[in-house]
Every structure is written in structure tokens, then in C-alpha cells.
């Protein structure tokens, strides 16, 4: 038999039973006899949801059964299977409603049967907010009562609402396990048809919370698929009726996980993501959550000391230090790596090597930790974004100090923290909890490996981490404005500079220096409604100054109409605005036909005749001031720096400290663009001149290229 045969057979059987039951009821009560579920405004909710028709009496129920029959098409296509599943579910609803004739109370404790609208409104709110992250429908009899209890308990611990149908109810009772709506474990009934009462919850959730109109079957299924995080755990042996009901669940978007792998294989019935065999009941939980893409919120971090931003600036002195991991002396590294979901066991934290209590007090040790993550929307570009947060995460631990990044980290753990029970695995706990909670949008699974043997650390550093860092750096250098399809807006600063919009490109990072194109991309993915939005760059207006129609549209939109057009590469024509957070300000120095750059830290005078603060008052506030531009330090060595005006060759003056910071990269750029060696030696600084005349003399002596370039104004 194939899956088709099984579902169709199950569906036919249930249909037959339903027809008999309705006929018998009509014979007994007459066609005018009222039928209804108690305490609902939605008649027979599932039938109403699918068809938009309310059923009031047995005669109408019989008519409805005729409508159900039209769903039972018998082509061997997946759609027919799903529709037969839906038909089976509707039949189950009809059978169940007959039990309520004459105000009967067909279910008694612990079983609930039909759930009132009020219960759904109450459960609906936490479902919508994600406080109830999922709904488990457990069907049948577990291999042992203990396994039933363990499974239910595992879901309960995650806040998942559990509904029970069939033998599992008796198993829980036998074990004395507490059930009830207040503990979020709801036994529905012992007949398989009582499963409809949870389907009814999903359908009414769509009607009440999704504003879906009765009869909008497609809208209903879309809602249940996207918004009702339910799944089915069906214990074998599976019969045709259960399989047919399962097809109905899959039609609503609820995957079915069963331990009856033999039957599944016999009918060739595995459907990826929808019908899944999992022989090990202990793994039902993980398999179900992965199949339904349910993420459990992590609220507390399991460590023996406090975790708060209050501890972020804490300094651990040598005398207070239990142990130190120092990347500048021995091999250390921190790394995030993307893996396949199947390669990761969520929340596995491995410590490979000696723990802190085996290390001499006050000693310098090696340490390497690798955080492995997997997620459907995870991208390798996010790895450095996560990694950069490790510094703040680990610093928030009471009695722990972290500095540096990559393979130049230094970590100190205080004696007090060690005495409180803090060990290496707790570093893993912190990283796991923070990565999972802060990056939940892209991380589905996460595990941490912590290496403390020197030989392992050496291997991880040199054979794993450094090649990754090199690859990333190479990607950064090859990432050009031309090589990407989109740029990003950043309006993080609009709270105080309401009309400013940064356009962040690979070669022009945000003027604050803190938002690179990769950061903006990650921000956009993690917070799609947030400050960084995608800007396309398809309609070029002027390649030379970097002006695009789409960029202008975006700037107009995000500045609420305050700005009409900006260029990406010019300081004279439509320059990009500045909020006030600029790391550096660049301004035209007319006498030398070049520009001076001042960084925020520089307090002295510039040859322009203005200090940094005076320049800032000209440049900030989200207005375009031709001749002045705020920018990040990193932008100085970019090939796109003032490209329209001739590029970095225009730089005639920078404070010494800034010049030293950017020298290597700037020299390289100048060499590549103009063939000039040691370009920075031609650039003046405060030790050379703070006035334009002296500067000009210096530039002439050095033969600075700006002197012979076209006039800027």
C-alpha cells in the first residue's frame, strides 16, 4: 500500500462511520434536532472555518457531510491526500458534535473535550506573544508510561502547551502525573476523533486572532501554517484513521512525528519536514521543535555568579585573579563557525582539557572557544558580528574581565568568582544563552567547544581560527561597492538628528565608524523593522559622484522628505549628511586645493582655521554642507573617499595620531590609485603646520599631488 491508499482508506472508513452516526441520530431525534458545541460563537468551528457555513441542526449536518464528500477526491496527488485529511478532520468534528446533543456532557475529568471560546482567547494571547512557544498534540499510547511522562515533562519545561489524545492519558494517570489547563497539559479525550478539539483551537485562533473570515480555507491554512506553532507526536502502531487525521494536520501546516518508522517506510510515506519518522521517543522533542521551527526563549543564564551590564567595566587586578588566559603570550582564540543543523546538538557545551580548578592560581593559560551555530537564515557574514559581542557578554559576568578579540584575547577570572563555582563550562553557558537569545532570528541551534590544552589551543588558533580570520579579511578587502547588489540605510541617530540618513556601502561605512556594510546587513536581518533597511542601487544617475535614483528615493523616504538627493562619493556635490556622531570631519582647505581631516580626539587647531568642535557645528544636524563631510576613520583609506574630486590624493593634513592609525592602509590605497609610495609622508600634521601658509610650503616641498590637481571649486 502507498500513503495515498492508506489515507484514502482511513478517510473512507471515518466517512462511513460519520454517515452512519448522523443517520442514526436523525432516526432517533429527527432532522430538526439542534446540534452545537457549547460556549462557542463559531458553530462547528472547523467546518465553519473551511466553508463559512454554520450548522444548526442534524439536517444541516447531513448536508454538510455532502460538502465534505466533495473534498474526498481520489487522484494520487499530494493535494488529494491533504484534502482527504481535512475531510477526515471534519468528519471527526461531526462525530464529536453528536456527542453533545441535548446538552450532554460527554467528557469527564481529566478529559476536556470541546474547549470554550473563552479558553481560546486566554490561551491565544500567550500563543501570539510567543510565551507559549508551541502546541504539542500527543496521540496514541507511548511505548512505556515513563516515556509518556518524560515527553510531556520536556514540553512543559519549555512552556509548550500539551494536548493529549488516546492511551497516553491513561498512562499519565497511571503515573499520577498532574494534568489540566492550569499546568498547560490538556487531555482532550480517548477516542481518536477527540483530536478535533485541538484542531478547533487552531481554527478559532485564526478566526479570532487572525481576522480570517469563515470560508477562506486558503487564508485559514496559511494562518495555521504561519502562526499556530502546533505539531503532532503520534505513537505507533499507526492505523489508517490516524494516518488520515495526520494528513489533515499536515494540511494545516502541522508536522507529524511518529515512532512507527516501519509503517512509514512500508507506505513510502515520509514527507520531509511534514511526516517524520523518529524511532527514539526521547528525541521527539528535539525533532518536533526543529520540524516546526520552534525556538525556545532563553531567559536565564545558568552560572553561579551574577550577569549584568553593571559588571562590564570591572577590572580584575593581578592579586585578585584566579587565572588568566592571555592571547598575547600563549595561544588563544575565540571563533564563531557556521555548521549544518545536523552537526549540532543544541546547548551542548564541551570542555576539552583541564578546568580552572586544575590550573595553578595566578597562572597564565591557553584557551580557545569555538561557538558553532546553525540556522536556516544564518550566513557566514554574521560570524564576526556575533564574535564582536563576546567581549561585552563575557565582561557582563561578575568577576570576569575580557579584552581584545579574535586570537588576541585576554581573560581574567577573579578568585571570588572561581570560589563561587565558576568553571570553563560557564563561559560556554554565557555564550550559548546570549547568542541564542540575541540572535534568535538567525540561530536555530548552538553548541560550544572550549579547549584548554595548550596543544589544542595552538592547533585551533593556527589551523582553524587564523585561516578563517584571513578569509574574512580578504572578503572585506574584496567587498566593493560594485560587487554588491544593495546598500543599507542607517537611521539609528534620527532620535537626535531627525533628518539624517546614512547610506552604508561596503567601501563607505557609517560616519560613526561603528556600522559597516556587514553590520548593517546583519542588523537588517536580525531586526527587519529596525534602523537598517535595504536600499537598491539599480538606477544609476551619475557614476562619477555615486548618485542613484533608488538611493535618492530611499533618502527622501527615510529623511521624511528633508533630503532630496545625495551622492556617495563627493564632498562638493550633494554630499551625504551627518548626524553628529562622526569619528572624523573632512573640510576643504582652499589654499592647497585639498582637504584637512580632524578626528574627534584632536583638540587643537586645523589649517582650515577651525577646531574639530567648530567644524562639527558646520557639519552635523542632518544638513548638506558642500565642502564638509563627516565620516568614519576607516573610510579615509577607501578608494571611494572623495572619488568624485580625485580621491585620497586630496588629503593634505591630518592630526599625527590619526595619520599613524590609517597610514598603512592609506599608503597602500595611494600606491594602488596613483603609484605614490609612502603617501602619508606628504600629508601635513599639527607638528608641521596649524595654518594654511606653512602647510602649503610643506606640501610644495614634498610635491603633494593635490597642488597640481584641478581646482575643487
Amino acid at each position: 500500500m502507498t500513503l495515498f491508499d492508506v489515507v484514502f482508506k482511513g478517510n473512507d472508513a471515518v466517512y462511513g462511520l460519520t454517515e452512519q452516526a448522523i443517520d442514526a441520530a436523525i432516526a432517533q431525534h429527527g432532522a430538526d434536532k439542534a446540534v452545537a458545541f457549547p460556549d462557542t460563537a463559531y458553530s462547528l468551528p472547523c467546518y465553519f472555518g473551511v466553508t463559512g457555513t454554520k450548522v444548526g441542526n442534524l439536517g444541516e449536518l447531513k448536508t454538510a457531510l455532502g460538502v465534505v464528500k466533495t473534498l474526498m477526491t481520489r487522484e494520487k496527488k499530494l493535494n488529494d491526500v491533504f484534502m482527504s485529511g481535512v475531510a477526515t478532520a471534519l468528519c471527526a468534528e461531526f462525530i464529536e458534535v453528536l456527542k453533545y446533543i441535548d446538552g450532554a456532557v460527554p467528557y469527564e475529568a481529566p478529559c476536556y473535550g470541546h474547549l470554550a471560546d473563552a479558553v481560546i482567547r486566554e490561551l491565544g494571547v500567550p500563543l501570539v506573544t510567543g510565551d507559549i512557544p508551541g502546541v504539542a498534540v500527543i496521540l496514541g499510547t507511548a511505548p512505556t508510561a515513563q516515556e509518556a511522562v518524560d515527553l510531556v515533562k520536556s514540553y512543559q519545561g519549555q512552556g509548550i502547551l500539551v494536548t493529549l489524545v488516546g492511551g497516553v492519558i491513561d498512562q499519565l494517570q497511571e503515573m499520577g502525573y498532574k494534568t489540566g489547563a492550569n499546568v498547560r497539559v490538556i487531555p482532550l479525550g480517548k477516542d481518536v476523533t477527540s483530536v478535533i478539539h485541538v484542531v478547533s483551537v487552531a481554527v478559532r485562533a485564526a478566526l479570532i486572532f487572525g481576522n480570517i473570515q469563515g470560508g477562506d480555507a486558503a487564508g485559514l491554512m496559511k494562518y495555521t501554517f504561519e502562526r499556530v506553532p502546533a505539531f503532532v507526536n503520534a505513537f505507533g502502531p499507526l492505523d489508517e484513521v490516524v494516518v488520515a487525521c495526520g494528513a489533515g494536520a499536515v494540511a494545516l501546516g502541522f508536522p507529524v512525528i511518529t515512532n512507527d518508522v516501519a509503517t512509514l517506510e512500508a507506505v513510502n510515506g515520509k514527507v520531509p519536514k511534514s511526516i517524520i519518522g523518529q524511532p527514539d521517543v526521547a528525541k521527539f522533542n528535539a525533532t518536533s521543535l526543529e520540524a516546526r521551527n520552534i525556538k525556545i526563549k532563553i531567559t536565564n543564564i545558568d552560572i553561579p555568579v551574577a550577569f549584568a551590564s553593571a559588571f562590564e567595566g570591572e577590572i580584575i587586578r593581578r592579586g585578585d585573579m584566579q587565572v588568566e588566559f592571555d592571547g598575547s603570550r600563549v595561544d588563544c582564540a575565540e571563533l564563531v563557525q557556521t555548521r549544518e543543523a545536523s552537526e549540532i546538538e543544541d546547548h551542548k557545551i564541551e570542555v576539552i582539557g583541564p578546568d580552572i580548578d586544575e590550573m595553578p592560581v595566578g597562572s597564565k593559560q591557553s584557551l580557545a572557544y569555538v561557538v558553532e551555530v546553525a540556522g536556516k537564515t544564518m550566513q557566514a557574514d554574521f560570524e564576526p558580528v556575533f564574535e564582536r559581542k563576546f567581549h561585552s557578554y563575557l565582561n557582563c559576568v561578575e568577576g570576569m574581565m575580557h579584552t581584545g578579540q579574535r586570537d588576541m584575547i585576554r581573560i581574567r577570572v577573579s578568585k571570588d568568582t572561581f570560589n563561587a563555582g565558576f568553571r570553563l563550562k560557564h563561559i560556554g553557558e554565557v555564550l550559548y544563552a546570549k547568542v541564542k537569545s540575541e540572535f534568535a532570528a538567525v540561530v536555530d541551534k548552538c553548541q560550544v567547544k572550549i579547549y584548554s590544552k595548550p596543544e589544542d589551543c595552538t592547533r585551533i588558533r593556527h589551523e582553524v581560527a587564523i585561516p578563517v580570520f584571513d578569509k574574512r579579511d580578504e572578503r572585506l578587502t574584496t567587498l566593493t561597492d560594485e560587487s554588491v547588489d544593495v546598500y543599507y540605510s542607517c537611521i539609528m541617530c534620527q532620535a537626535f538628528s531627525p533628518s539624517h540618513v546614512c547610506v552604508v556601502t561596503p567601501e563607505r561605512l557609517g560616519l560613526c565608524g561603528a556600522v559597516s556594510w556587514l553590520d548593517a546587513k546583519a542588523t537588517n536581518q536580525l531586526d527587519p523593522q529596525g534602523p537598517c533597511q535595504v536600499i537598491t542601487k539599480e538606477k544609476v544617475i551619475d557614476e562619477r559622484i555615486g548618485e542613484y535614483e533608488d538611493v535618492n528615493d530611499a533618502v527622501r523616504k527615510f529623511s521624511q522628505g528633508a533630503l532630496d538627493d545625495v551622492s556617495l562619493y563627493s564632498i562638493i556635490e550633494k554630499p551625504m549628511t551627518s548626524c553628529g556622531c562622526f569619528e572624523c570631519i573632512c573640510g576643504i582647505e582652499p589654499l592647497s586645493n585639498g582637504v584637512c581631516i580632524a578626528n574627534r580626539e584632536y583638540a587643537g587647531m586645523t589649517p582650515i582655521g577651525m577646531t574639530f568642535s567648530e567644524l562639527a557645528s558646520m557639519t552635523g544636524g542632518g544638513v548638506q554642507t558642500p565642502g564638509f563631510m563627516g565620516h568614519g576613520k576607516h573610510f579615509i583609506a577607501s578608494k571611494k573617499f572623495m572619488k568624485a574630486e580625485g580621491g585620497v590624493a586630496r588629503i593634505v593634513w591630518m592630526p599625527k595620531e590619526l595619520k599613524e592609525t590609517v597610514a598603512d592602509r592609506l599608503n597602500e590605497t595611494a600606491k594602488e590609485l596613483y603609484g605614490i609610495e609612502n603617501f602619508c609622508d606628504m600629508i601635513g600634521d599639527e607638528t608641521v603646520a596649524e595654518d594654511p601658509e606653512t602647510l602649503l610650503a610643506f606640501l610644495e616641498e614634498k610635491g603633494h599631488p593635490a597642488l597640481t590637481m584641478e581646482p575643487m571649486m
Binding site: 501570539v128 479570532i208 534620527q494 521624511q560
Partner: protein, 313 residues
């Protein structure tokens, strides 16, 4: 050359939003012109004025307000009396006693008051929380449930608790959701988008984009309201076209100009007059910037602002 006035009518308009049911229901928004620019196009729904009482009853009020409610012994008495003051379009009940850092009244106790007040008056209701986001999530969910069918405005859904408040008020019990953000157009917009994604009908959202007493960072409030309205009308930004409601009372009656006694500040004049002045000045400025409703506390301020609106629309 003859002067031809150009109409400043916009192609976009503010959403219309009804609060309450029956004859007393009020409708906010709908305009396609700048605030009070009736010469550009008619404004069908004039801004509305609400009066605020709290769960604390008379005890929580300054002396001058106590005098206005003479003879009242309970919150319900006050609600009935407030409903009769001149110019009152709606009643706002602020559940400030729920604050865990204050009186920390239980949700049950406060919901009982909500129910009593709702039964006693047929005015449209605005229920405001206690400014603690966790408590509000619980409190406002229950308030939305208790007021099912009243089409009340539930305030505030904030970034921290919008899911719970939005789902309860906007989805489960079909009330109007008040989205509160803090003087930042982008945050206001983001919250509206998030509520809409949750499934809340954009036509059932009112915004509080921030509030302050005149003189207390008030220019930020005004510039935010200005900018929100400009984006909604001139840019046709549908995510900012929700009507704005601005609670004034809760800010104004907590600043020194309204609280310092005449004995301490003889040169400032009588306390009551100052309170009314501050309330009127703040509310008038909010309204001319674009607020579609204000919530006040002193009956004299309500009457004055209501008169001002009638004169202008």
C-alpha cells in the same frame, strides 16, 4: 495681481477611529489638512477632550480637584460626576495604583474598579496602565477582557509589551490599541508596523507619540507630533496615519509649577490657577501640533479646551 489662495489639502488623510459604542461614541481623525486648517478643507471630526480619574479616587487628587468632586465617596461616584462636566467627550481611567513600585494593587482589585466604572458611565472609555510594562501586560489584558464589547482604548502598548497588549486588546477582545512610543518618529512608526504584523488592524490603533508638560522637554513632543503628521499627510505614510491621543493630565499635575504651594511660591499665585493654566497651555499646543485628542484632569481646563476646539473647527 489678485491673490489666489492655494489649498493645503493633502491627498492622504489620517485614519478615522471610533472609540466607544452607541450615541456617545467618538470618532477621531479623518482629516486631510494640517491641524485646524479648516480653510483648506473641512475637518469632520474635531479633536476630542477626555477627563481623567484614577483608581486612587479622591485621595490621589490635589486639593483643587478634590473640590470639583465634592460629595463623591468612590471612584464610581467620581466617574459619574466627571461624565457630566462640560465639554467631556470621553472618560480616562488610569490604573496607577497597579505599579509594583507604588501601591502595587492586585490586578483583580483594579479590574473590579474598571468593571464598576464601565457599568456606571456610557461614555467612551480609555484605560491607562500603571507605567510598569510587565504589570501593564497583565493588567491591560484583563482590562481588555473585562470591557469586551465597549470598544475601549487600551493604553499603552509599548515596545516591551506590545505583543501581549496588542494581542489581547486588538485581537482577542477587539478593543482599540494605544501604541505608545517616546518622542521619536521612527519608534512610533516601528511600533505601528510591529502591531500590524501581529495582526492588529491599523484602523484600530491610536498613537501616543510622547507627552510632556509645557516647559519640560515639550519641544521634543511638539516636533515629533509635527513630523508624524507631516509624514502621514505629505508623504502619505500609511504606517503613521493613526490618530494621536496625548495624555496631558498625568504629566502636568506632577511638575513643580502645579504642585508648589502658594505659601512656598507666593509670586506664582494660586495653585489651582497655575494647574489649570499649565494644563490648558500644554493641551492647546498639543492640539495645534496635530494631536487628535487630549486627556485632562481639571474640569475647568476641559471646558476651556473644548471651547477652543469649537471656536476653531
Amino acid at each position: 495681481m489678485p491673490f489666489t489662495a492655494k489649498s493645503g489639502k493633502f491627498n492622504a488623510s489620517i485614519n478615522t477611529l471610533t472609540i466607544g459604542t452607541g450615541d456617545k461614541a467618538i470618532t477621531l481623525g479623518g482629516e486631510n489638512v494640517l491641524p485646524f486648517y479648516t480653510f483648506d478643507a473641512p475637518i469632520e471630526n474635531a479633536p476630542k477632550v477626555g477627563i481623567e480619574i484614577t483608581d486612587g479616587g479622591l485621595d490621589a487628587e490635589p486639593d483643587c480637584i478634590k473640590a470639583c468632586y465634592e460629595g463623591c465617596t468612590s471612584v464610581v461616584d467620581m466617574a459619574k460626576k466627571a461624565a457630566g462636566f462640560e465639554g467631556v467627550d470621553f472618560l480616562s481611567l488610569r490604573l496607577e495604583g497597579g505599579d509594583p513600585n507604588g501601591l502595587n494593587k492586585s490586578t483583580e482589585e483594579l479590574i473590579a474598579i474598571v468593571k464598576e466604572v464601565a457599568a456606571a458611565v456610557d461614555l467612551p472609555l480609555v484605560i491607562s496602565g500603571c507605567k510598569n510594562v510587565e504589570k501593564d501586560a497583565e493588567l491591560l489584558t484583563k482590562a481588555a477582557e473585562a470591557l469586551e464589547g465597549r470598544n475601549a482604548l487600551i493604553l499603552p502598548a509599548k515596545e516591551e509589551n506590545y505583543k501581549t497588549v496588542g494581542a489581547a486588546a486588538g485581537l482577542a477582545y477587539k478593543q482599540v490599541v494605544g501604541a505608545e512610543s517616546s518622542v521619536d518618529i521612527n519608534l512610533a512608526k516601528q511600533l505601528n508596523v510591529l502591531l500590524t504584523q501581529l495582526g492588529v488592524n491599523p484602523q484600530s490603533i491610536a498613537m501616543n507619540v510622547g507627552t510632556a508638560s509645557a516647559g519640560y522637554g515639550f519641544e521634543y513632543v511638539i516636533s515629533t507630533i509635527d513630523r508624524v503628521k507631516a509624514a502621514a499627510l505629505s508623504q502619505g505614510d500609511a504606517t503613521l496615519q493613526m490618530p494621536i491621543i496625548t495624555p496631558v493630565a498625568s504629566e502636568v499635575w506632577g511638575v513643580k509649577e502645579t504642585m508648589a504651594s502658594e505659601a512656598d511660591m507666593p509670586e506664582w499665585g494660586p495653585v489651582e490657577e497655575r494647574g489649570i493654566d499649565m494644563e490648558i497651555e500644554t493641551a492647546a499646543a498639543d492640539l495645534v501640533s496635530g494631536s487628535n485628542a487630549v486627556i485632562l484632569r481639571h474640569p475647568a481646563s476641559v471646558a476651556t479646551i473644548s471651547k477652543m476646539i469649537k471656536e476653531l473647527v
